[in-house]
Assembly symmetry: C2
Homo-oligomer: 246 residues x 2
DNA sequence: CGCCCGCGCTGACCTGGGTCAACGCGGATC
DNA sequence: GATCCGCGTTGACCCAGGTCAGCGCGGGCG
């Protein structure tokens, strides 16, 4: 996680069958682990700060996140880091590089994480034999495209709106989808959030305190609680100080 | 094109075979128009300002642009228009909606245009029988994801950088890929460019004149000529007034 | 022909948020 | 225990670019 220290990638790999996995049959892995894909997957564990892959490395697989959390990012020629998203259990990593020989982005664990590796070879085989698998994979890619389109639009909003939308979406897709009042973990740093939303860390910090002052939010550091969902949604729509009517 | 008048969608459709098409065998259409896809395509013409499709309409096809130019955009709940990109001959329209029952964005012709329609049904059939077609389609989606990722990064740059990058990419992908000195058409309005780059129309205008003053650019209105590619690339890297070193 | 309207351009002004600096804190290391 | 270092927070300052207003021009239309 440090800006200077670059931990080498190392993963403890173990073979895997999806039968009996707690993620169930909705998981893309379970859909792969039939037919020709059977038994080709493997599972890996990563510590916080370990990279699953780095931009430029040869890409030969897709990963289903089964625990923890990841940050996906690219670094621009000038060294700036653009966070593309935070990836939670159930999500897929590497889909943006599927049709490229090298990874087009990097993925680093921001919490102790587990992934299921789906080798490209097995994916290609399965694609050839299962229309359902084709449909699910292309749906994943389509969803990613739309996520990026929405993200693009977020870039035109005020700082309050960005943070509010971020918190709402984060809350919605957290395990259990608890929008309501219970506290939730925010595994990423303020800097990460800033690099995701296109804001300076200081601005993220300021918005957090402003949201807390307004009573919409509560919590310190890595754990927050949404106190007033409606208020937050209102802010996401129009920004904090009432601005131009829609 | 007007903000108020909403022209209804109408297309003159004619059946189509790809054999003998000037786009050649690289075209996604040609790859479809074999096997089960054969003879299922059709061709349409659109006037400037006509919509190919609108967000929310049932989506049942992909389109290969074979002439003219399109603008792809979404309108946000508050009415703001976010331009997703400008689509030129050889590009594909509708790929972001392929796995959805409705179009997730709108596409409007910004110049008299021609498209080849590829029905989703034919696509699905062809996907089942051709690994090559699968590869090409998923490569298209992957490229779209990466285009959006780069666009996201553009959103963190100065106005000069955005416009410079835009002009360079526009020039690079124009028919003939002429980066060099010959003038080229810019079919989109300043407003379109602004809504694409996340800038106010006035800012786009100002940057254009600044670029012309600096000698990097020449031209009026809809036709421009890049006078100094290196300078433009330099600006794309560091911005116009020399800023923080890389 | 005159009129209108949308587009592009420019100037003046204002503000959201970037930048810089300082500080408190908690965790890791010795 | 003392030191260090990265993180989060806050304050002060400033500037890129948004906003508003005005103007010229060219194209469509009565």
């Amino acid at each position: 996680m440090s800006a200077v220290a670059i931990p080498t990638r190392r993963r403890r790999i173990e073979p895997l069958r999806c039968t009996g996995c707690e993620r169930g049959s909705d998981c893309l892995g379970a859909a792969l682990d039939e037919g020709s894909g059977a038994g080709r997957m493997s599972r890996g564990h990563l510590e916080r700060g370990e990279h699953l892959y780095r931009m430029g490395e040869p890409s030969d697989s897709l990963y289903v996140v089964s625990g923890g959390a990841f940050k996906s990012y690219v670094v621009s020629p000038d060294g700036g880091e653009q966070v593309l998203g935070f990836v939670l259990p159930g999500d897929v990593l590497g889909i943006d590089s599927l049709s490229h020989p090298q990874f087009q982005s990097s993925a680093v664990a921001i919490a102790p994480a587990r992934v299921c590796r789906m080798p490209a070879e097995a994916i290609r085989l399965r694609l050839g034999e299962s229309p359902d698998f084709r449909e699910r994979l292309s749906a994943r890619m389509g969803r990613e495209i739309q996520r990026l389109q929405r993200l693009l639009h977020l870039g035109r909003c005020t700082a309050e709106q960005r943070v509010a939308v971020f918190l709402l979406s984060q809350s919605a897709q957290s395990e259990g989808g608890s929008l309501a009042g219970r506290p939730q973990r925010l595994p990423m740093s303020r800097r990460d959030i800033g690099q995701f939303l296109g804001l300076a860390t200081e601005t993220v910090s300021r918005v957090f305190t402003r949201l807390q002052d307004s009573g919409a939010l509560r919590g310190r550091r890595t754990s927050i609680e949404i106190r007033n969902v409606e208020r937050l949604m209102e802010i996401a729509r129009v920004g904090l100080p009432l601005r131009r009517g829609s």
